[in-house]
Symmetry: C2
């Protein structure tokens, strides 16, 4: 499975500092590896696939120390009864009660991934080293439907991530009205409509990034409207380089869209093929912000 | 957004009989379209992206009639309060209470998708026209970890689809022991391990497909072990053509894996780049089976 992951990361051009498969850990375990990776200057984010945690107390302590310096994202497989049984057939490990794992991850600041893509989606967002210091998110789109779907995923607590749509400031709305076409929507989700151009995206992103009510930006870029083209990467980059707030890009489509996504990735701008994946990755940045704020306040 | 969807389907080589964007439906609405698509011989599955349902009672009646003949998969956007508000900015539509939508979909036999990829993942599974007549699923894998993750997704009620791991019959287990290497796992999830070959997959699939305890098969194919190669498509096809039980394939990886996925797709075998997506698609086939059984019993 590790090789399958590496292979996947290669086509998405995600940089890997080191890849470690530690087998049935007869000698070296996850604690040793975390201690090593904490000091490894080439590693910005640590991702883990775990089936068991053997020395719980020590693991939490070391992982928390690592989390203060760099984020950890982990899948803990065998979280259901049937899954735990499968783990014990697979490696002989004891999967442990999931409530305990959940509490341990929280204490250690580990961001939990549940599905395969989440592990790398979250890692890529975190590798950009921009943190969401609050949960008020703005969605910028040129497709109304895509904006609605992102909003559903963002605000739903049961099937989504339970964050907040930022309420844009009056000044922001006034400025957006000047940038957008008359039938555009200057509220959140901000809709540039089929009249969108790369330059319009840059202007809109500059305005929303300045708004103090906004903690993070999900930018949906459908490249099909006539005014849209590959320059979108340059224009979004200009804002990305100037702001401390996280910007995540979502673009759904075929080959031309995939080229744009890869170009974003090469510039270090986290980009995703589905709006829901960008929204979930934003939630990982919010979780990271919460952990760091809380850890700092505890001194 | 419709164009973005079409573009996506093109690279996945999903066949489209007809694509309809009906705008703000001044004249033609979803009921007219469903009536047309019911009779369209080129259409095996209907997918819908909806922001509102105007004539509720009539919609349910017509959709139920269609569902008896061919499956409908739908995204209803604007299911949260914030999403509904975004819908009304977008098209002026009233999104309606989600509990009512949920009940209407259930009555009409509409399979609900929540995220972009689900719409087409479910449609592709349904287009193969094999139905899961029960919820007892077997997972076949050559990667232990991938099998565990699929098991978690399959059996978890909150974060997964809440189906059951089939308890394989004694005869099945005996036969599997003869096919698998000594360190293979003849229980569910069945693990062929890194010794897997395409031929071994065929033999294993033949055995589990015969088991009366099995309603559906999720086959995870990591192509990285030394004995694995592109012949896996031929070998899985042989079983797929003979059995009435649904077989869904999951393969995670880079370019060589993507080639294999596309080859499965060309043979009409639904295939997915992540185990979790295959498991969710299996749940759509179970839902379809439940609807048809219930509808038949009502006469």
């Amino acid at each position: 499975m590790g090789v399958a992951f590496l292979d996947w990361l290669a086509i998405e051009e995600v940089g890997i500092s080191v890849f470690i498969s530690y087998g049935n850990k007869a000698d070296v375990d996850e604690i040793d590896l975390l201690e090593y990776l904490m000091k490894d200057e080439n590693t910005r984010v640590v991702t883990m696939y775990l089936e068991e945690i053997s020395k719980g107390r020590e693991f939490i302590e070391v992982a928390r120390k690592v989390s203060m310096k760099k984020p950890i994202v982990a899948i803990k497989a065998g979280r259901t009864r049937a899954g735990a049984k499968a783990v014990s057939s697979h490696t002989g490990a004891l999967a442990g009660k999931d409530e305990i794992i959940q509490a341990a991850f929280k204490k250690a600041g580990i961001i939990r991934a549940y599905e395969t893509h989440e592990l790398f989606d979250y890692a890529r967002a975190l590798a950009a080293e921009k943190i969401a210091w609050g949960e008020r998110i703005v969605i910028v789109t040129d497709g109304g439907g895509a904006g609605v779907m992102a909003t559903d995923k963002l605000t739903d607590k049961a099937r989504g991530v339970g964050l907040k749509l930022a309420k844009l400031g009056e000044e922001t709305i006034r400025e957006l009205k000047e940038i957008l076409p008359p039938f555009g929507i200057p509220y959140n989700p901000v809709d540039l409509t089929g009249n969108a151009t790369p330059e319009m995206y840059r202007q809109v992103l500059e305005v929303v990034a300045r708004d103090e009510e906004v903690d993070g930006i999900v930018t949906i870029v459908l490249i099909h409207p006539p005014g849209m083209n590959e320059k979108i990467v340059d224009e979004v980059s200009k804002v990305f380089e100037k702001t401390d707030k996280p910007i995540l890009v979502a673009a759904t489509g075929g080959t031309p869209t995939q080229k744009v996504l890869l170009e974003f990735q090469r510039r270090g701008i986290p980009s995703y093929p589905e709006v829901e994946r960008a929204v979930k990755a934003m939630a990982a940045l919010v979780e990271r912000g919460r952990f760091l704020k809380q850890a700092k306040s505890k001194g």
